[in-house]
Amino acid sequence: MDVIALSWWQLALAALMVVALAGCTAALRLGMGRSLLIAAARTVIQLTLVGLVLEALFAAERLVWVALMALGMLLIAGREVMARQKRRLLGGWAFGIGTLAMFLSSFTVTVLTLTVIIGPEPWYRPQYAIPLLGMMLGNTMTGVALALDRLTDTAWRQRAVIENRLMLGQRWQEAVGDIRREAMRSGLMPMINAMAAAGVVSLPGMMTGQILAGSPPALAVKYQILVMFTITLGTGFGTLAAVAAGSRRLFDGRERLRLDRLAAPRH
């Protein structure tokens, strides 16, 4: 079975309905019309561009180009992690820790999945590598951003408790232990929820796409399970690394809580 081709005028119909929705929210003075339209326009432009890039990438099938694309995705994800934190670490640490954590976890798990499990020929075949890495990075980014945000914000609000624990002679790891656990939880919770609800409440997007594209559902399910596991691995190890490095950075060599290393929240 082949996919039914979509033409631009068919998309325009869907776009028209989004415009209608924006019109309704504007009429009700909900103040969402503008951002809705901007976001919709961004979707069209960004996805069209990435479509062009992928076409070129698939045609070339060169490791250099795949690596460059991966690097670009990683840097944008790193910037996004930084932007999503209310009180981020100063001096490039927010970007550095987030990006490094995502690099270590997402890239390692993606390369392992490609070489050991799926095994396309060559292993970096863009048709497999890019979508897999994209899903990994997207989810790891969310996990890392949530965890770091929770870590720094809670440390800020509970500074007196942390310091009181330090005064009693606790090590910094112990003094910030509860907060680290909380941060890990908030980073991993979305993925755990997604796995628990998969197929029952929600049909995962990738599986839906594959089925639409004509894959037998049984195969689509296998791919979906694999992807969910790898995403969980990436998010888990990424969050773990980010929380470990981020909480270390909250203290100096004399185990003092250094909230002066956090930026003031922007409004």
Binding site: N164, M167, L168, G169, D178
Partner: protein, 204 residues
């Protein structure tokens, strides 16, 4: 840590305070007073190594910088004016405490099952002192330890603290406002004047 040792501040500088020198012998209480905002609490924080500062503190022959920070703080223990609690029940913060100490501060052992959330500020203050003392430090830094207590309780807590201080030979820095309290507990009284620490009186 059973042997009693002295606590020395050598050229400690933090905030507006410069080159603070002070030596507290075992079992002695040195009171610090001064207008609010003069840096009493920050000085104690510097001695506990909770804030970056210049100069060095010594506990006997052991320098602050020569120990890992948590070990230093376990020996030179700061009890802040306002205490903070992380677990739900009181007992989780006080793993080793004797019924005698609880009774001396006006508590029955049931207090260990109480929820921290229902403690009054005075109860918190007394329990915070107990929490610090029960960890067997080698020196104490007390920041207004009786600020939230009524007169009778203040006397009771003072008496208990002074007994324990003499018994264990702890050198103590004690931030206080009340001249009567200073006269009762202190062997030396220091006042922060501008950027300096001046000795007001000595009773030894």
């Amino acid at each position: 840590m059973t042997a009693s040792v002295s606590l020395r501040l050598e050229r400690i500088a933090i905030g507006s305070l410069v080159e603070t020198r002070l030596s507290v012998a075992p079992g002695e209480v040195h009171c610090l007073s001064g207008p609010s905002g003069s840096g009493k609490s920050r000085l104690l924080r510097a001695v506990a190594d909770l804030e970056p500062h210049a100069g060095e503190a010594w506990l006997g022959e052991v320098a602050q910088a020569s120990l890992p920070a948590h070990e230093w703080r376990a020996r030179v223990m700061l009890v802040p004016a306002e205490s903070h609690w992380w677990a739900d029940s009181v007992g989780e913060h006080l793993p080793r405490t004797s019924p005698a100490d609880l009774a001396a501060l006006g508590f029955t052992p049931e207090v260990l099952d109480w929820q921290v959330a229902r403690l009054s500020s005075g109860e918190k203050q007394r329990l915070a002192l107990l929490r610090a003392v029960s960890r067997e430090p080698a020196a104490l830094l007390l920041d207004e330890p009786t600020a939230n207590l009524d007169d009778a309780t203040t006397r009771r807590v003072e008496a208990w603290l002074v007994t324990r201080i003499r018994e264990r030979g702890w050198p103590v820095l004690w931030v206080a406002h009340d001249p009567a309290q200073i006269a009762r507990v202190a062997s030396h009284h220091w006042r922060i004047e501008g950027s300096e620490l001046l000795e007001v009186a000595s009773w030894t």
